[in-house]
């Protein structure tokens, strides 16, 4: 498994124009041009977030029952607090880490839901943020760090411990940053990083 999958190179295309450029084909109907019908309820939640944080949050996707927002590691704690207090999402369903070696970053994704607010029962809010990634990780000692959301959402406690040992993302402010799952003598790379390969593959 190579650690850096080749990035699509866009610039190195020699411009050899032998034939005259064809007139651009005119699309008869442009389906993309039509404004996409956003689900109203999800749009309402999203507008509140964007109104509060402006360009600090980036809209990832809006689809039925799902909203995705991205934010930087400096703002993630404030955004999470707003989501809990003003939008009434009260628990985290899962904490997932995704390794992106091509971008040199590790993404941590929180899936937030609500038990108390009945109108939010179908909704999942996806809050994602990214930490810098080191090619020679020393879990807990290097720059792969994020602020912990444990004081906002208590339910992320075990999830963040899992991401710490599986991807090496240290959560600043987590009260219990210990190993949870792997053997005590594990000394290899964090196993869910892309450069950790399964034997024989």
């Amino acid at each position: 498994m190579s650690s850096n999958p080749e990035k699509p190179t866009t610039e190195a295309k020699p411009e050899e124009k032998t034939t005259p450029p064809k007139p651009a084909p005119k699309p008869a109907a442009k389906p993309e041009e039509k404004p996409v019908e956003l689900p109203a309820f999800e749009k309402g939640i999203l507008d509140k977030l964007v109104e509060k944080f402006g360009d600090k949050v980036e809209v990832d996707f809006v689809k039925e029952d799902r909203i995705g927002i991205k934010t930087s590691k400096d703002n993630v704690h404030d955004v999470a607090q707003f989501i809990r207090d003003d939008l009434h999402y009260d628990h985290a369903e899962s904490v997932s880490g995704v390794d992106f070696p091509a971008d040199n970053e590790i993404e941590v994704v929180y899936h937030l839901g609500s038990y108390t607010e009945s109108s939010l029962a179908k909704q999942i809010l996806t809050l994602s943020t990214r930490a810098p990634r080191e090619s020679n990780p020393i879990p807990g000692q290097d720059s792969t760090k994020l602020p912990s959301l444990r004081d906002v959402f208590y339910s992320v406690e075990f999830g963040e411990r899992e991401v710490f040992e599986m991807l090496g993302v240290f959560f600043d402010g987590h009260p219990d940053n210990r190993r949870l799952l792997l053997p005590e003598d594990w000394a290899d790379l964090p196993p869910l990083r892309k450069d950790f390969a399964i034997k024989g593959r």
Binding site: G68, H91, V109, H111, F158, L181, P191, L192, I198
Partner: protein, 378 residues
């Protein structure tokens, strides 16, 4: 205590009264779910769950196989509930591959999912019985479970790991005459489990060991993000089959069982009530199911994805909400598969329930969390 300590060993000076105990592992072969408790006399003062080391590779392995070939191995964490643990993955893979599921397949899935919920819950109930030293409650569910296992064997050919749900529907259609056999078995099964109330749930010994032990308040159940029977036993009315229905659950009439107490007794009774509800759902689904039609969309062995996408799907299993987060980069293999499992989520409540309890109540509290040890470490 001497001053000379081995280097690297940070021994704390411990109160002489406190004793550390390793309870478990619960499974002799593999060593999962050990609970390190500290007791003061008879009372638990600290608790640290150690979910163990059994599979620990499902999510990684899923990155090496395509969306179809991931099916047989992603069900391994909970083999007794294999239809349900696959369910969110299959729903997510369908969205990524852009597959439409035939109507009949959705009903077959609901029936298999409910049968699996009962099979799992019977196994759990049997172990809960033997944890409390109630050997009748071990033998009755273990025997009655066979009725439903036979049904699933007729459907899928396998007794435990069915690999029956695939992206695009289910692997095989129901066998001939299945509706009649299923209805008969389920009716008998429901009559049979209702007898458990007399021998188990009304049993004064059971009540004295489970009432008011390990009480989880409604606020804490929400705060810890618990799910499934643990959440509903604490008075939160939340069942994904009702609140966020998938497949054909919105066409069926599903009742959510909620209890207010939040103690071990309530947590052990909600799954049993759910089994009776499952029988109702199966009967409704058998009645509403289209009598003929395809159960599987046409699929290539290595189907193409629609491009980069992320999907999060969740279903309600026997233990609670199962979620599956799939990241696709457009390749035939998923880029990342994350399973969010109820046992792992409910585990967070365990230390908070045990602290302050007597050590003797530990089995009844621990197993009432509907915890499936292998699931917590995918």
């Amino acid at each position: 205590m001497t001053d000379i300590m081995p280097p690297g060993l940070a021994l704390k000076k411990v109160d002489e009264r406190i004793m550390t105990l390793n309870v478990g592992p619960q499974h002799p072969g593999s060593g999962h779910m050990r609970i390190v408790v500290q007791i003061d006399g008879d009372y638990i003062v600290a608790c640290d769950p150690d979910p163990g080391y059994v599979h620990r590779g499902e999510e990684k392995m899923a990155e090496y196989r395509n969306y179809i070939t991931n099916v047989p191995h992603l069900e391994r964490p909970v083999i007794h509930d294999s239809c349900n643990i696959l369910y969110p993955y299959v729903l997510g893979a369908e969205e990524i591959l852009g597959i439409e599921v035939p109507e009949r397949a959705k009903y077959v899935r609901v029936i298999c999912s409910e049968l699996n919920r009962c099979i799992y819950t019977m196994y759990w109930l049997a172990i809960y019985g033997i944890f409390l030293g109630h050997s009748t409650m071990f033998m009755w569910p273990a025997g009655d479970r066979e009725l439903l296992i036979d049904l699933m064997e007729k459907v899928s050919g396998a007794r435990v790991t069915h690999a029956h749900f695939i992206p695009g529907g289910v692997r095989n259609d129901l066998p001939a005459n299945f509706e009649d056999v299923c209805l008969r078995q389920v009716n008998y099964f429901e009559k049979r489990i209702k007898e458990y109330a007399a021998v188990f749930y009304d049993n004064p010994i059971l009540i004295s060991r489970t009432r008011d032990t390990g009480v989880l308040s409604r606020e804490n159940a929400i705060r810890y993000g618990t799910t499934g029977s643990v959440l509903r036993a604490s008075g939160v009315d939340y069942d994904l089959r009702v609140k966020a229905p998938y497949d054909v659950y919105d066409e069926l009439d599903v009742h959510t069982n909620v209890m207010k107490e939040g103690d071990s007794y309530a947590r052990s009774k909600v799954p049993w009530l759910d089994m009776i509800e499952s029988c109702n759902i199966i009967r409704q689904a058998l009645q509403k199911m289209p009598k003929s039609g395809s159960v599987r969309a046409k699929l290539k062995p290595n189907p193409k994805t629609k491009g980069p996408a992320t999907v999060y799907k969740r279903v309600e299993s026997g233990r609670g909400s199962l979620g599956c987060y799939i990241v696709s980069d457009g390749k035939p293999e998923p880029y990342r598969v994350k399973m969010s499992v109820p046992s792992f989520r409910n585990l967070l409540a365990l230390p908070n329930l045990l602290i302050g309890e007597k050590l003797g109540n530990m089995p009844s509290v621990y197993w009432s969390l509907n915890y499936w040890p292998v699931e917590a470490d995918r």
